[in-house]
Symmetry: D2
Subunit: 142 residues, 4 copies
């Protein structure tokens, strides 16, 4: 990937809801996207853990951008569906999401997202998702 | 369900991340929970549609509270996993989520959530999720 | 749907693995497919219940044919992915599967399949699946 | 794991529906289970590919036994739900399934299953599943 495209994707990632949530981009490579969130009170649920919806949003959005790295500028990415498992309640100051394309078809792309909570330099896998995405020509949006 | 419990669940629903997102509660009955969101710019994704993560958060949280209506005060609800399909891009001013418990086991509860976008009084099913939840004794949290 | 097409789909359903499993077709309408299986010892798992794989196969295949009823003869149907929940162990002499298309996009079709066990004339919902399918032009197969 | 337990699980795996399908066990270790299937005509679907149901059955059953390796003799394993993606049509003489426990909770265990088709010594990932299982005390079955 050329540097310009990487910079575009880094910026494009953070707008609308993901910007509102506070996600930041750590790493972008072909087929890979990694992001980070500093946990604030507004990310929690009724028991004080990071809300499943925050984790799901991060898993979906980061998985989607992992797919986005694999297509040309003529395509956008839409989520067809995803499935996410929650292994442990997420606590701590930071969560990170590491997404990777595990299959790239002509139209359908599958990404996996793993979400880790970080507490006192210890990473713990708290969640894993499979995201099914579709590459849609930009022309279809206009 | 007694009125007090309904009022408790209505308030309990809106805190942390769901409060930050702006969800409101429309209806609570045994096994049923319905919620609403007025769409603002911060709920969108890069193409101007409601972000998949907003819809997923609503589907998970509302499905979880549908389950919450079926257990006693001695239990809390945690999401084990969920899967969500996106049928159409969600546009418009309002989305609503209607969740229903479709199976209640001793520990494992399954809810379905349907998310509709409302535009000019027309409802459109934009998303559907199956949410698998676990009833956990309050005592396990302390 | 014309009668000929219905007869074609009924026959087409039962070949290869579904024939080997012993599935039978009960009902075919536009967007709807219903099937049945008489339980034999070879359908069970280690605890004597109907094997999750039998139920999954039925849910996938019947959901796929529900989608098949909605496309022209120029298309075939492939499963992109599915997700299935198991609510109760399936016991009894017969299981039936009722599938329905819940969203028909241009290429992507979503079906839901519900599997019931029947014992002494009592039906019990034992499983529910969401199946995401793709309509592929016949020409792509040759 | 002691040798006796491994031999028990190898035998236990092959009965009822999995025996009828023809699955064979390749490898058993703590948290790992690997199986194989020689493809016959009765494993196919209408287009000549291995049926999604065969692959799903293999992914579920092998994932379940990966979980089974991690519990004592006082527990059995039931599938709560699974989700499976199909990346490519499976063709060839043999498919293998490699399953691994990726999270072991007290009651809930998550396994991942990858299914590969083998053709002319080339392996191709055709499918991947996440399987959510529950460890149930043997005493609950009697």
């Amino acid at each position: 990937m050329d540097k310009e495209r990487i910079e575009f994707l880094k910026k494009d990632y953070i707008q609308g809801f993901p910007a509102y949530c506070g996600f930041e981009v750590d790493r972008v490579e072909y087929g890979i996207f990694e992001t980070r969130l500093n946990i604030r009170q507004e990310h929690t649920q009724q028991d004080g853990f990071v809300h499943a919806g925050v984790i799901a949003t991060m898993a979906d959005h980061t998985g989607g951008y992992a797919a986005y790295t694999t297509v040309s500028e003529n395509f956008r990415i839409l989520t067809i569906e995803f499935k996410i498992n929650y292994f442990k309640p997420a606590v701590g100051d930071v969560i990170v999401c590491r997404s990777e394309v595990i299959n790239k078809g002509k139209k359908i792309i599958a990404s996996e997202s793993q979400v880790f909570s970080i507490s006192q330099d210890q990473e713990k896998l708290v969640s894993k998702a499979m995201v099914t995405l579709m590459a849609v020509p930009v022309s279809a949006f206009t």
